[in-house]
């Protein structure tokens, strides 16, 4: 597989990736946020498909998801909004969402639509690697979509290696045992974990997420990894300062 994610990670720079929830703060903000992020110099974007019961998320992403659904966001609506996104956006785009909405849309239909739009990968926190391999890997490969798996400080080395072998694009390193938006600083335990995973010499690049909120945590996280993802902190910024001030948030990271 070789898509925009792979190309981006070959550039040898520390990737800054931003997560936001589609349809928040307003239903029609999705493409505007993507364009603002690209022009602010963000390297990659994760577009959150909102879900009613986001198990792995803290209050910030839960609230944005609830509001996005209330605003009328649906799977079909998101695809419609993204229809022409590749006319002027060329950075990697990833859809992150829980599995049930994809299952109801039809996994193959979902992947096909993503490919038609120019989506490069998917992050599905509640689709375990075993189920993916048994039932869905062929579909993802047919449509050239990287499926990105998570690892955590508790993931065993054997399992990290298994995930490395199955992964396309990058491995999403969850920084600590927590839901999103829970921590604001990194301690010794995180740095030791970053070092430990770096020492495994995995084939797949690693991007760190959860607990990245500012330049300091971004720099710490990317010392031994290929990039970092900011989610909750960015959504808080959107809530307080609006879509107009996206550039300020990104400029403060690097």
């Amino acid at each position: 597989m070789n898509n925009r994610i792979h190309a981006k990670l070959r550039e040898q720079k520390k990737v800054l990736s931003i997560y936001f929830t589609a349809g928040y703060p307003k239903l029609e903000d999705t493409t505007r946020i993507i364009r603002e992020l690209q022009s602010s110099g963000v390297d990659m974007i994760e577009i959150g498909l909102p879900f009613s019961d986001p198990l792995a998320d803290g209050p910030t992403i839960q609230d944005s998801s609830t509001k996005a659904l209330h605003n009328g966001m649906t799977t079909e609506k998101l695809f419609e909004q993204l229809e022409d996104i590749r006319e002027d956006v060329d950075i990697p785009l990833i859809i992150m969402g829980y599995f049930n909405p994809m299952l109801q849309y039809g996994v193959e239909a979902f992947c096909k639509r993503c490919a038609a739009i120019g989506i490069d990968g998917l992050i599905i926190p509640d689709l375990p690697v075993e189920v993916y391999e048994a039932s869905y890997k062929d579909i993802f490969e047919t449509y050239g979509l990287a499926n990105i798996f998570l690892i955590t400080p508790q993931t065993s080395e054997a399992r990290v290696r298994k995930i490395d072998a199955t992964s396309e694009g990058f491995i999403y390193m969850v920084s600590s045992a927590s839901v999103t938006g829970a921590k604001s600083t990194f301690g010794n335990a995180q740095e030791e974990y970053f070092d430990r995973i770096a020492a495994l010499n995995l084939e797949t690049p690693r991007i760190v997420g959860f607990g990245i909120s500012n330049a300091e945590t971004f720099n710490t996280a990317t010392k031994k990894a290929d990039g970092a993802i900011i989610g909750s902190a960015f959504i808080k910024h959107l809530t307080h300062h609006g879509v107009e001030k996206i550039k300020d948030f990104i400029a403060a990271i690097r």
């Binding site: 879900f51 009613s52 019961d53 792995a56 659904l69 049930n100 994809m102 299952l103 375990p128 045992a177």
Partner: protein
């Protein structure tokens, strides 16, 4: 066809473990250990001893003479309401806390709807001297105040779930998030036959003491070790799973599952999952689930907090899909009337969850010589305010 869990954690098409990677080590630790621990003779001895001396098992199988006369059949009640803490839930919490201790866990979390599972968890935590946090929807905290007070008195911390519909589904989300945040020292005691594998099977096995006793007791009373019908209410389905377990492969036994229709199946305020649900994923398992076309989980409704859940356990989804189980739904009003009827005819005040199962003889005639066992899963002390308001008592 098998109605038991397979090696991969599935009941037919339902079940599995659709969990975020953060939960994988915990769930995997359980999966690889639960059968071995449960089959260990010393574990069995401790479990059986506590069920006998602390919970008060075996619970009676009671022939309800007046109710049987009224409905022209032979109705027995399995008196799970007589367990310590007032419901079947304690069978599972005793089992799981012993298992948690074997795994070296120090802290227990749980979700609760009606508060029965929360009380049963807080009780065993007090018994074992373990820290206990119970998540409960804000709405349920208001409608099940006596159980909240009991949990607090037992030393548990009750944390309100403030998201979504603020009921059982949301309490479960919060408990799962807690487990993600506390992966090393914490065991999550799920109270229903839901969640990722091995939970549905583990909970079912701990609750299977119900059908094991029914068999023995029926043999004494009726000279045969099976009923014609076994009836239980279903939210997630733990009391039902335990009532059915030893009869799953016995096709002489008709399995009846009773769901909460709320204000009516087509009212938009219902929790009748088999009628309103489609295959989907909730709380880590694939099962029947009430959801929008877009795959968003729907807010259920029932007057009974314990049945107010948008899914059913995967075993029950399989019983429904394979037609092994007969699924019936009962409205709030019919359940409340059946609860009052039992109180007046037999002198037993049932939990409103249980009252749904009690409405079955009105909806579905049984033959005169048929033996019908209804699991009387819980007592109604916690529901007195709801009964009083409903009937202006």
């Amino acid at each position: 066809m098998s109605y038991h869990v397979d090696q991969n954690g599935y009941y037919g098409n339902f079940g599995g473990a659709f969990i975020p990677e953060m939960l994988y080590p915990n769930v995997e630790e359980l999966r690889t250990n639960y059968l071995q621990i449960m089959n260990d003779p010393s574990f069995k001895k401790d479990f059986d001893q506590l069920l006998k001396d602390y919970v008060g098992r075996p619970t009676p199988l009671y022939f309800a003479k007046r109710l049987s006369e009224k409905y022209g059949t032979r109705i027995y009640f399995k008196r799970e309401d007589l367990n310590h803490t007032g419901a079947h839930k304690v069978n599972n919490t005793i089992g799981q806390i012993l298992l948690a201790r074997k795994l070296g866990k120090k802290r227990i979390i749980a979700e609760t709807g009606a508060g029965q599972h929360g009380v049963a968890t807080a009780t065993v935590c007090a018994l074992m001297g373990m820290q206990c946090v119970v998540y409960m929807g804000e709405i349920d905290i208001a409608r099940q105040a006596p159980n909240v007070a009991r949990m607090k008195m037992l030393g548990a911390e009750v944390r309100p779930a403030l998201s979504g519909s603020r009921t059982l589904k949301d309490a479960t989300n919060e408990a799962i998030r807690d487990w993600i945040n506390n992966p090393l020292d914490t065991h999550y005691i799920i109270g229903s036959a839901i969640g990722p594998h091995p939970y549905p099977d583990m909970v079912t096995r701990f609750q299977s003491v119900i059908s094991e006793e029914i068999r023995k007791q029926l043999l004494e009373k009726e000279g045969r070790d099976y009923p014609d019908h076994v009836v239980a209410c279903i939210g997630g389905g733990s009391n039902a799973a335990g009532s059915y377990y030893h009869f799953l492969d016995d096709t002489r036994v008709n399995i009846i599952a009773v769901e909460a229709a709320g204000k009516g199946i087509d009212s938009g305020e219902s929790a009748a999952t088999s009628a309103l649900g489609r295959e989907g994923i909730i709380h880590g398992c694939k099962t029947l689930l009430m959801q929008t076309d877009d795959g968003q989980i729907t807010e259920p409704y029932s007057i009974s907090a314990g049945l107010d859940y948008p899914g059913v356990g995967p075993m029950h989804a399989h019983l429904y899909a394979s037609k092994r189980g007969e699924f019936i739904s009962v409205t709030d009003d019919d359940a409340m009337n059946a609860g009052l009827e039992l109180t007046r005819l037999e002198g037993i005040i049932p939990a409103i969850e249980t009252a749904h199962a009690l409405a079955v003889p009105q909806q579905r005639p049984f033959k005169k010589d048929e033996v019908v066992v209804i699991n009387l899963s819980g007592r109604g002390d916690k529901d007195l305010n709801t009964y009083i308001d409903h009937f202006n008592l």
